[in-house]
Symmetry: C2
Subunit: 335 residues, 2 copies
């Protein structure tokens, strides 16, 4: 038998343990063209909150009383596919469960000797690609421009800021603890960083951006985003990646309308999801891996140990507790 995590309620506001249930289930056997995978690392991500609601979005909502899924790194335990052998380390969108049986098309091998297996859930995976395409395709930072990123110490934001530095921009991060601020400035080389919990964000932003703002990479929404609009330069670009501050809102999310600022500055604001760029993932992953191996790109993980703490790791996302990518380590990779 194994454990699986089901969604049993559509959360109202901030999710709690009551919205989830750990169930016991048998371990299936693979049929021809399938493999049995033992779960090693589970990715927990803010966007999963949206899938817990009903209604249309860019991904299907999770079904009630069924297993939740996200990006998972596993190791092949038993293969009935010509493409995979026992021991292969693989990546796929798999269930929050200890073992999965999947079709060979649903997974791909990753090289865990080139980079740690968990990196394929973060800097070399969806969050790295999200930063890469959102910043470069929508934000288009130019040398000497000012790039502001919110959620700057998170899995996406930390990569956004570092790519902006690689492109020669001045980078200002916004995050929620002094530890994160130090990390951004001292470890990642951000030019300035603002602690939104202790500083007056509009004032601090104005001081940190004496030449205005050319690119704002939006990860959080809410009042932090609001503070950016009055400082936009002409032809500024705003990739809108996330709005974690509002994901648990029950009431309508009200704020100053942005239209006037967009008109005054001829600025662009564009929502996106990484899936829009799926045909170019190879190109992005290759460039990210190059920067990683050259030491130009650093990443952090907040690792929660043990399958039983998966729900805790997910709930912690909304407390701003994680530095870098939040990952659950279920088990060691077997060499």
């Amino acid at each position: 038998m194994q454990k699986k995590i089901h969604l049993i309620n559509r959360p109202k506001g901030t999710p709690t343990h009551d919205d989830f249930k750990v169930v016991e289930a048998p371990i299936d056997s693979p049929e021809q063209g399938e493999v049995l995978i033992r779960t090693k690392y589970i990715s927990v991500d803010p966007y999963l909150r949206g899938r817990m609601n009903e209604g249309k979005s860019y991904v299907e909502p999770f079904k009630l009383d069924e297993v939740i899924s996200s990006a998972v790194i596993g190791q092949v335990e038993e293969s009935k596919s010509d493409r995979f052998s026992k021991g292969d380390v693989v990546l796929g969108a798999l269930g929050w469960q200890e073992y999965s049986v999947v079709k060979e098309d649903a997974i791909r091998k990753v090289d865990h000797h080139q980079a740690p297996a968990s990196a394929y859930l973060s800097v070399l995976g969806m969050t790295g690609l999200t930063a890469y395409f959102g910043l470069l395709e929508i934000g288009k930072p130019q040398e000497g421009e000012t790039v502001v990123v919110s959620g700057a110490a998170g899995a996406v934001g930390s990569v956004v800021g570092q790519i902006a530095k690689i492109k020669g921009a001045r980078v200002v991060g916004i995050a929620g603890s002094d530890e994160k601020i130090s990390y951004l400035k001292d470890e990642l080389g951000f030019d300035a960083a603002i602690n939104y919990k202790t500083q007056d964000v509009p004032k601090a932003l104005e001081e940190a951006c004496p030449n205005g703002i050319d690119v704002y990479f939006e990860n959080v929404g809410g009042e932090i985003g609001d503070a950016v609009f009055p400082l936009l330069n002409n032809f500024a670009r705003i990739p809108v990646c996330g709005a974690i501050s509002s994901y648990n809102n029950v009431d309508q999310d009200l704020g100053p309308r942005v239209q006037g600022h967009l008109i005054k500055t001829s600025s662009l604001m564009q929502g996106f999801t990484v899936g829009n760029y799926s045909s170019r993932f190879g190109e992005g992953a290759k460039e990210l891996a190059g920067w990683l191996s050259e030491g130009k790109l650093k990443y952090e993980e907040t690792v929660t140990e043990g399958f039983d703490h998966t729900i805790d790791a997910f709930l912690d996302l909304f407390k701003g507790a994680n530095l870098g990518k939040a990952i659950v380590k279920v088990d060691e990779i077997q060499e």
Copy 2:
């Protein structure tokens, strides 16, 4: 002596007659390279409200106790330029005054036999070009898509809707009187039109857009714009041209934040001003003139007669009184 209109107060909220003063001034004489122009038609436009405030925007604020200016059609009364002769009909950014002396570089001739002189203030002028570039460069309507335009019976909106029809889109207009609704549907061939003063806009929009909204050309801002976001299709485009509903706001303009909708649908929202496309005005004016002569493009003017009613004509803009372009006719063109 002649009359000039000065701005004497920065309006708080909606402008009133008390913010303006009509002053008497001598008529200057042109020096070498200059011409004396008699004012024939004055363009009154919502964007001028922004120039009455202090602070940075895409155009300089008007100075207090100086003459207001906008697009003007005039006729050369006396020329000390080789390029212009007495009787030429010219277009320029000139003062709200009965006579102007300007350098030859500040004006250009228009052919008032090819189209009525006033058309160069509307469909063949800035408002037509605003519609043309905003819709085609940002909105990019495709055949069969649904285009919604607010301020649809106005100088910009009416041209936006007609170009969208030319491009094969389904067009839904939002305007503020039954007379305007009839005009949009019966005269301009819009597929549907909504009276925001008498109808429930969110409900009416949903009914008028059974396939969702692909392009929203934003002229008004406020609650009308808010109603569009929940209906956006994936990869929708929103050219943000104006926000007349908020131009006179004293308090902060609050509304539902849009970030979540942009993310869910990967939609783009871009502010612009027609000046961004100035290097391509010739191309736009030529295509507009072609559609006009083929009868594919119609336009209306709300003409206020007499220089003394210029301020009234401007103030009427904020009452939603005008159908098509608001123009002051100061005097007949002399043949």
